[in-house]
Symmetry: C2
Subunit: 250 residues, 2 copies
């Protein structure tokens, strides 16, 4: 930076620009009882009081965007920011001028995943907070949150294909069958158990064996399963493609 910059900044008035607020909204997914759930809050204040919405809120003046997303998640829902296996990534930004009646609001959406998250606790801005099953959502959602949620689901579904994201939905140690259940739940269709097994083990760095097995067989019988933990791969190669890929190509 130059001295010219200093002179310039001294006379600079930030209020000269159009009033805009920046918020973060979080699409948080988890799996409960074999169904995909998203975290929603019931708005405690206008606008759209009592409507179900994604957790979110204004970004603090000196706050980074991902920090704000983690804070909102914690504040409005009691879901611990420092949850060990929480995954947070930027999804997209929504800025249609009339998406919020208060003023021009540009919202940066984040996508979060974690295994076995606890029941949320409603925070200051929320009358209630709950994990809602994706196949039985309240309608309508506030603002354009239905669009954001749909984009988040799309992203999650395709990220399973080429990233080890699925390991974020299960515990530290898991069986191949648990991992398969994640794919089946998010993709919404059954997979061939044998082929899935072969494929997961053939992708370098996806999972690594712990040497141990489960204590018992499955709830309805079957042998004990070997336990694995997440490997160090960032990208799955070859990828696990959704069976229905070809149908949705065009």
């Amino acid at each position: 930076m130059t001295n010219d910059d200093d002179d310039f900044l001294a006379g600079y008035d930030p209020r000269a620009f159009p009033p805009v607020a920046v918020t973060v909204d979080v699409v948080a997914f988890t799996i409960r009882d074999g169904r995909l759930h998203v975290l929603l809050v019931r708005r405690a204040a206008p606008p759209q009081q009592d409507a179900w919405a994604l957790p979110g809120g204004f970004v603090g003046e000196w706050e980074d965007l991902p920090t704000a997303a983690a804070r909102e998640l914690a504040e409005e829902t009691g879901v611990a920011t420092a949850h060990r296996r929480l995954h947070l990534e930027q999804l997209a930004t929504y800025g249609t001028p009339d998406r919020d009646p208060r003023m021009r609001i540009v919202s940066v959406a984040y996508l979060a995943f974690a295994p076995h998250l606890p029941d949320p606790v409603a925070g200051s801005d929320a009358r209630a907070a709950a994990w809602m099953p994706m196949d039985d959502l309240p309608t309508p959602l506030a603002f354009d949150h239905a669009t954001i949620l749909a984009d988040g689901l799309d992203r999650a579904r395709s990220k399973l294909e080429y990233s080890p994201l699925a390991t974020r939905f299960v515990g530290e140690e898991f069986t191949i069958a648990e991992l398969r259940a994640v794919y089946e739940t998010v993709w919404g269709e059954p997979l061939h158990a044998g082929n899935f097994h072969r494929k997961v083990l053939s992708v370098p760095g996806f999972v690594e064996s712990t040497g141990a097995t489960t204590e018992r067989g499955g709830a309805r019988g079957g042998p004990r399963a070997k336990l694995y933990r997440a490997g160090d791969a960032q990208l799955l190669h070859p990828a696990l493609l959704m069976p229905s890929r070809e149908d949705t190509v065009r």
Copy 2:
């Protein structure tokens, strides 16, 4: 919306929120002389006057984000907004608190592609505008634009794998060899001509034949090539994977 909302909004003061400005920045790629080029402008005003930067600027009060991106592209560089084959997609949003010395600025980055774009014309906010080759960029770039540009390149490289984006870099009608040149330029490595040919034709909806051929053979010899135009596929299946994929997996 309810009457409660109206009461609430009547007493609402937008100035109560932390001052933030929202900008758009555009990473525009094209191919010239077999090299990948990005559009840069030389800043005409502080801060960082005279530094090279991505074209961009403040979002108008009633302006949609993609509209703002197209406008900035046109304003600062003379690249026509309505260019027939211009592709524009949202890349990501950058909001680190100190990324701009003026104030808190959140910038939504867009990615643009087009074939054979004309030489840009410097607009009001730019002292100059130019297509700069990616392998010989001026350094440093203003603000965090080097990061944004790197993210844009990553996105472009991987989008070639599973989307028909490459057809946006060539003319309305093109040969398989021209398409291959796009992949080789963006990926930065030579491809096996025979395998590429087979693969492109085997992906349903990627290209469709026009029945015609080029008027002449290649500049250095060879037969006339068949001409194709873009098909209707939105997703390539099977995908064309980068040869170096496996090395960069972890």
